[in-house]
Each structure stands twice: as structure tokens, then as C-alpha cells.
């Protein structure tokens, strides 16, 4: 609805006002006349009419907007679902435009695509509400003043632009899957918003492997949500999870999407990440995990998306495929990576390899280093329990 209205107003604030206005009119009208057959279309029509009115009354100086409005009136009000979907897709590309900072893209996606309030977006990223409100206001102003277009990019650019959208959705998901701070391991609200966004995008761009794969990756990762946390709120590592608690519907849906993507053509970064998640999801037990397959997939991922974090995950997989000594060797190569210097999972992975090698004193030092870098209470307890085991 917002997506459709903003096409007319070309101004996000005005569009939001029109939508709110439509809701308040709905309350009054529906109370008298009953709920219409298609409430969504009713609301959208009212919001659009309001937007057109608003446009008419605007300053003459806004001639370009006038033109848009006039075009719109000439066109009969069309309420086909495909029209609304096109609008939504345009709004996604506006929110994830590369001329906006990534943090801003994520905030706008949550605010405008998921409909979270500014307060909720601020809470999601643990920033002050005033700061988030300022960030969103600045972004809306930039969209208007710099004329960030409200349209689906054309071919030569499309691939890159879809990738930017996928990055934003993935970031919402990872932030939710393991919250960087706080006393809960998972931020269910963010995980679900990322799932909504991935589904929305999949519906809008049905024939893209990377789009399908991101949805698969989120489904497969999230299928373990309940099994990752024990009765006392403690973190349970993948090796120790009760796999019967994994959410089978999510796994089935995710696996179907992955196999579709893997079969058709060159695998991108999300396809490979989803394929790795699929190996875990289809392994009945931890000690039946096909680690050689996982290392092979990480090797391919390093080719299309070389990053220290991918290298770290690959090294951890090597420690299970070839043994903790080989894993430790691969991890040691990463110790001078500036990007990983404050990344607790490097120290934790080294601690794990050292523990499995029986080098307890060194292992404990590594877990202690990881503890210093971790702010999530559930992860802290997990690391502390490892340290206590070694002490005891």
C-alpha cells in the first residue's frame, strides 16, 4: 500500500501520511458500511486518491510531481495484484540503493517494507530512537532531493542491485539469528522479518537462483532455532543439538529450493551458503556430517566471495574433515587478519581445536579471549562453561 502510494507522491513522508489517513477513514467508513469485499484494495485506493489530492494542492513549483499525478489520473485505477507487486519491488530497490549506507538500507527496509515503527527499528539495532529517527529522516530526504529513482533497475545493473537487496535481507537475518548483544541468543522478530522479506523477494523475482537460495539459507538456518537453546536458556552447539527438534517443514522447503538452485547453472554466494546449510540439515547425526562436501563448498565459496569470515568457517570445517591439527593450522593463518581482530569466533574456534587436541591451558586462554570479545549473554555463558570444564 505504501509502495503504491509513494509512486504517486514521490515523497515517502507524504505517502506514509496518506496511508495513515486511509486507515483512519477505514475505521469510520467500515464501522458504518461494513468491511468491503477486498479491504486491502479499498485502503490502497483511498490512500492513492488522497495522494493524488495532495499532489494537486502542492506548490506549482513541483511541476514534475504534477506531471506524474496527471499521468496517474488519466490511467484508470488499477488494483491488480501484479501492479501492487511491481510497486513493492520498486520500493525494495529504492530502500537498498547503493547510494545509501548499508545501515541506512537495513533501517529503511525494516521501516518501509516490514512496517516496523521507528521505535522498533531503533530497538532492533540498539540505537537511541532519536538517532534512528534522524537516520531515517536523512535517508528520506536524500531519496527525494538526490532523486533516488523508484524503479526496478535495468539489465546491466540488475544483478548487482539484486545482490545489494540480498545483502540487506541477509544482514537482518544474521543480526536476528545470533544477536550481537543482549540476553537472548536469537531475536525472533528480526529473523521473522528477514524471512518475510526473503519470501516477498522470492515472490517478486521467482526465477533468480540467488533469491531462491537466500530464502533457503534463512529457512535452513532458522530450522534449528528451537534446538539451539536449552531448557535453561543455554546455547547448544550444532554438535550437541537434538535434531528431532529441528523444524522439518522449514528444512523440506529449504532443501527443495537449494536443489533447484544448485541444478540450474553457476552457483553464487547465497547458493553455496544454502548448500552448506543443506548438508547439515540433511545429516541425521552430527558424526554423519559430510565434512569433505562442506569443505569443498567452502572452497567454492572462497572463489566467488573471498572474505576472512568465510575463511574462518572453512577452517572450522577443515578441523572436522581432516582433524583439529589441520584446522588449527588453517585458523593460525587468519590470526593476523585485521577484520577478525575483534571477532570472537576466531578465538573460540582455536579454543575448540586446542581442546580437542588436549592442549587445555592454551584452549582456556583462547576461550577467555573469546569471552572478552562477546557481548551476547547466552554466548558468554557457553564460553564460560567451556572455561569451567577445563578448570574443573
Amino acid at each position: 500500500m505504501l509502495a503504491t502510494t509513494v509512486r504517486i507522491t514521490r515523497d515517502l513522508d507524504a505517502a506514509e501520511e496518506c496511508v495513515q489517513d486511509a486507515y483512519s477513514r477505514a475505521l469510520a467508513t467500515w464501522a458504518e458500511q461494513g468491511i468491503p469485499a477486498n479491504p486491502g484494495a479499498w485502503l490502497t485506493t483511498v490512500a492513492r486518491r488522497r495522494a493524488i489530492d495532495l499532489g494537486r494542492r502542492r506548490d506549482v513549483a513541483l511541476r514534475s510531481q504534477r506531471l506524474l499525478v496527471t499521468d496517474e489520473i488519466a490511467e484508470p485505477l488499477r488494483e491488480t495484484s501484479s501492479g501492487i507487486e511491481d510497486d513493492r519491488l520498486r520500493l525494495i530497490f529504492t530502500c537498498c540503493h547503493p547510494s545509501l549506507a548499508t545501515d541506512t538500507q537495513v533501517s529503511l527496509a525494516l521501516r518501509l517494507l516490514c512496517g516496523l515503527s521507528t521505535t522498533e527499528v531503533a530497538r532492533a539495532f540498539l540505537v537511541k530512537e532519536a538517532a534512528m529517527a534522524a537516520r531515517i529522516t536523512r535517508a528520506k530526504k536524500k531519496i527525494m532531493v538526490a532523486r533516488i529513482p523508484y524503479r526496478v533497475p535495468e539489465r546491466p545493473e540488475l544483478r548487482q542491485r539484486i545482490d545489494a537487496v540480498l545483502t540487506v535481507i541477509h544482514l537482518v537475518h544474521t543480526t536476528g539469528h545470533t544477536s550481537p548483544v543482549g540476553d537472548r541468543l536469537t531475536r525472533v522478530d528480526l529473523v521473522e522479518r528477514s524471512l518475510d522479506l526473503a519470501r516477498m523477494l522470492r515472490g517478486l523475482i521467482p526465477n533468480d537462483n540467488e533469491v531462491a537460495s537466500l530464502l533457503a539459507l534463512i529457512l535452513l538456518t532458522d530450522s534449528r532455532r528451537v534446538a539451539r537453546v536449552g531448557d535453561e536458556g543455554q546455547f547448544i552447539a550444532l554438535a550437541d543439538q537434538d535434531r528431532s527438534r529441528w523444524h522439518q517443514d522449514s528444512i523440506d522447503e529449504g532443501l527443495a529450493l537449494v536443489s533447484e538452485s544448485v541444478r540450474s547453472g553457476r552457483a553464487g554466494r547465497f547458493t553455496l551458503m544454502a548448500a552448506i546449510a543443506a548438508v547439515h540439515a540433511s545429516s541425521p547425526r552430527w558424526d554423519e556430517t559430510d565434512w569433505a562436501e562442506i569443505v569443498g563448498l567452502y572452497d567454492r565459496l572462497m572463489e566467488v566471495w573471498p572474505s576472512p569470515v568465510v575463511a574462518l568457517n572453512r577452517a572450522a570445517a577443515v578441523s572436522f574433515a581432516s582433524g583439529p591439527l589441520e584446522g588449527l593450522g588453517a585458523l593460525d593463518e587468519l590470526s593476523s587478519e585485521p577484520q577478525l581482530s575483534a571477532y570472537p569466533y576466531l578465538a573460540a574456534a582455536r579454543g575448540d581445536c586446542l581442546r580437542r587436541l588436549g592442549r587445555m591451558r592454551e584452549s582456556r586462554e583462547m576461550y577467555e579471549e573469546a569471552l572478552l570479545l562477546t557481548e551476547n549473554a547466552v554466548e558468554r555463558r557457553f564460553l564460560q562453561s567451556r572455561i569451567d570444564e577445563i578448570k574443573g
Binding site: 513541483l62 547510494s99 532531493v145 538526490a146 532523486r147 533516488i148 529513482p149
Partner: protein
């Protein structure tokens, strides 16, 4: 249509060290850019190095203080600009991407519309 000012920021030291061939290539690049984008171009110029710049600021008592050099000392300095017409930011960026800026990059700023 809207106007955008594209500011070209480049490393002046690299420019100073550039040989005649590099210089010639850059000039030819700008020439080609200008011809290809004639419809969008509203103007543009190359500037003398920032060592020739003079900056003016007012001090606490409101008097002008004249300083030798650019307003902000940065590694990359404005070496030229283009004023372009574009329907939206994507169109402006597509034009700006074609500007040769071997020793730096460009900044695209929407021109404020005065009503």
C-alpha cells in the same frame, strides 16, 4: 529533470608526476566524454591546482582571514567539475561513471532547486 554537480577529486601529486602521454590520454578521455554526453552536459571546467587556491574565512571579530591553499587539506583535491542534467540519480551516476578520473574519483551532488 534535475541538475547535478559532479566534482572530480584527484590526487594532485600523481597529476604532477604524470608524463605527457598520460596527460594526453586524460584530456582525450574528457574530450570523448564531452562528445558522448553532450545532451546531458550543462557545463564543466578543469581547475588549476589547489596550490593556486585562496581561502577566505571570517574570524571571531568578523574580519576576513585570507589563507593560501584550499579550504580543506585532503589528499584528493577538486580538480574540475561538470554540471549535468539527469532525470534521476541513476541517470546522473551513469553519466558520472564515464568521467575519466584516473587518480581519484567523483562526487555527485544534486543542485538545490530554488522555488
Amino acid at each position: 529533470m534535475a541538475e547535478y554537480l559532479v566534482l572530480i577529486y584527484e590526487n594532485e601529486e600523481s597529476w604532477a608526476k604524470a608524463d605527457a602521454e598520460t596527460f594526453g590520454q586524460m584530456m582525450a578521455g574528457h574530450q570523448a566524454f564531452g562528445e558522448k554526453n553532450a545532451a546531458a552536459l550543462r557545463g564543466g571546467n578543469a581547475l588549476e591546482p589547489s596550490s593556486t587556491a585562496t581561502s577566505l574565512r571570517r574570524n571571531a571579530s568578523g574580519e576576513f582571514v585570507v589563507t593560501d591553499g584550499p579550504f580543506a587539506e585532503t589528499k584528493e583535491q577538486i580538480g574540475g567539475y561538470y554540471l549535468i542534467n539527469a532525470a534521476d540519480l541513476d541517470e546522473a551516476l551513469a553519466v558520472a561513471k564515464q568521467i575519466p578520473a584516473k587518480f581519484g574519483g567523483v562526487e555527485v551532488r544534486p543542485v538545490r532547486e530554488m522555488h
